[in-house]
């Protein structure tokens, strides 16, 4: 998912920043994380700079445990290999994913349903799979991560057309039809989704019904506002949590991790740069070495 530079009303952070900081708390120190590109990756870098310095990030291009000196725009950027513990092949890291070696994966998506199934392939609209309204990037490694990683965290902007009762196309399996043992019956090895971090709050999944429910809201957000943005009758935790505002330290660390604001700030941030030289300068200045 892509960033935007606009501050949340009355706050000193953007929705993207809040999502990155919230997601970063899902990583634990010493874990191995298989992380997709964009804001999910920044969340991983941030976790390494904050509470999980020994987190190893794995890229599907074949890089295992790089030092996160600089931010990556793609999983295949040379930066993804900076000081890596092991530089290997794509098929090998997917094999290790399937082998159960990776604890956590973070994914974005365009559409999600109540059982955590993700669509990143196509929004059918009036059309169908062959001629959709919007063609999305496709699975990439998303399906593989959702199939086999220990637990999955999903990051998505909360919008009603994205949170639907049934996705047009299951690119990445969540809990499928939600029936008991649906994942195991299909042959899936990973644990499935544990959290959906959105721009308004965090959803989790009921251990029995496997249905997504509202677990945490951000400061200043109303639960009802969230319920209106979801396409099914959303359940809300009895002990609904309210997340704290990000601390100054968290925001500073995050902004240093993406110093030109190119991930979190989106296209607008590119235009604000005077040119490539400023990008090079900012990258070198904030590189953590």
């Amino acid at each position: 998912m892509h960033g935007s530079a606009e501050f949340v009303k009355g706050k000193n952070y953007t929705a993207s920043e809040l999502m990155a900081i919230t997601t970063c708390k899902e990583f634990r120190d010493w874990e191995v994380a298989f992380v997709g590109i964009g804001i999910p990756l920044v969340a991983g870098i941030l976790a390494k700079r904050l509470h999980a310095p020994n987190l190893s990030i794995v890229y599907e291009s074949g890089s295992i445990g790089p030092e996160k000196f600089r931010v990556d725009f793609n999983v295949g950027d040379s930066s993804a290999a900076d000081g890596a513990l092991c530089l290997t092949s794509e098929w090998r890291v997917f094999g290790d994913l399937q082998g159960g070696y990776y604890d956590i994966g973070v994914l974005g998506g365009a559409q999600i349903d109540r059982y955590g199934n993700l669509n990143t392939t196509a929004i059918f609209g009036g059309g169908d799979y062959r001629r959709p309204k919007v063609r999305l990037p496709g699975s990439g490694g998303g399906n593989d991560i959702g199939s086999s990683v220990g637990r999955v965290v999903i990051m998505m902007r909360l919008e009603k057309h994205r949170f639907v009762p049934r996705v047009d196309y299951i690119t990445t399996p969540g809990y499928l039809d939600g029936s008991p043992g649906a994942r195991e019956r299909a042959g899936l090895l990973g644990g499935g989704p544990v959290a959906v971090v959105t721009s308004k709050g965090v959803f989790r999944f009921h251990p029995e019904t496997r249905e997504m429910y509202l677990h945490t809201i951000y400061p200043g957000v109303e639960a009802e506002e969230i319920r209106q943005s979801v396409g099914w009758d959303l359940k809300i935790a009895g002990d609904l949590q309210v997340a704290p505002d990000p601390s100054e330290a968290e925001l500073a660390a995050l902004r240093a991790a993406d110093p030109a604001n190119l991930i979190l700030g989106g296209a607008g941030a590119r235009e604000r740069l005077s040119g490539l030289d400023e990008f090079v300068e900012l990258t070198l200045k904030h590189a953590k070495r």
Binding site: D77, T121, P137, G138, I170, P173, L276
Partner: protein, 304 residues
Amino acid sequence: MSDRGKANKLMSLQEAVSTYIKDGCSITFGGFIGRDCLAAVHEIIRQGIKDLVVIDDSKTDVMDLLVGAGCVGRWEGAYLGYGSIGLANNVRRAVEQGIPRPIDLEDWSNAAVSMRFLAGGLNLPFMATRSMLGSDIIKYNSRIKVMEDPYNGTPVALVPAARPDVAVIHVQRADAMGNAQVFGFTGNDGNKARAAKHTIITCEEIIPTEEVRRGGNLTLIPFYCVDAVVHVPYGCYPQSCYGYYAYDVLFCGEYHEMSKTREGFLKWLDRYVYGCRDHLEYCSRVGWDRLKSLTYLERQFNRV
């Protein structure tokens, strides 16, 4: 293999492309949205090659250009998006509106494509995977066959080997025989080179075979898989090449903005592809200072 057993496979990019890449052939590209062989792709477009069947994992920059230039008839792959930059505009136009021509898409996951090339690289008819089970990727792709494994009865998905006609792979170093050394991640390149009927290596540096022999552990692709070796410095630009130059996020951003309209894309194509005789002219148009800045940046972090 005797035609591959030659000491000197060096040729120009023009010659390598025209010799091995034909209208309608199936093709795969090395790299993984990083170390993609953009220079070779520009040459394919300049030569007006049509109806390519591209079999690949994640190969956005390559595909968006080729699709926009009307070179692609079919895509079997996993991902066509610009990471943190956005969707692939030419791919969208082709799939949603058939502009400049409709393309046939077959969806796989990256692990599935990886297994297809592993099978191809081992000359096996198929590989199994535990990906895609329960998903709609299988529903819409009849070539994925779910079976119970005959040892434990667990479900697995079989995927068929990929055996493209051609692989084009950019590496950091190769010798004239075709021994190719890759630094940084290696993607599926070791398998792609083996799976393809013909393999073209483009590289940042040509090194003597003696230098290859000093570091045989870094040779990903041995000479016997290789048909042509082409020296193309900055052959991945605007993508990154580990140890040589960093990603040009601003140039790519500009491409993305321009390619939002068909007119904008055609303008871009005229300027950077049709309007350049060869890769050297493209580098000049981009600006050698800009390229050197990216080399400077990369070498602060990685050196080969």
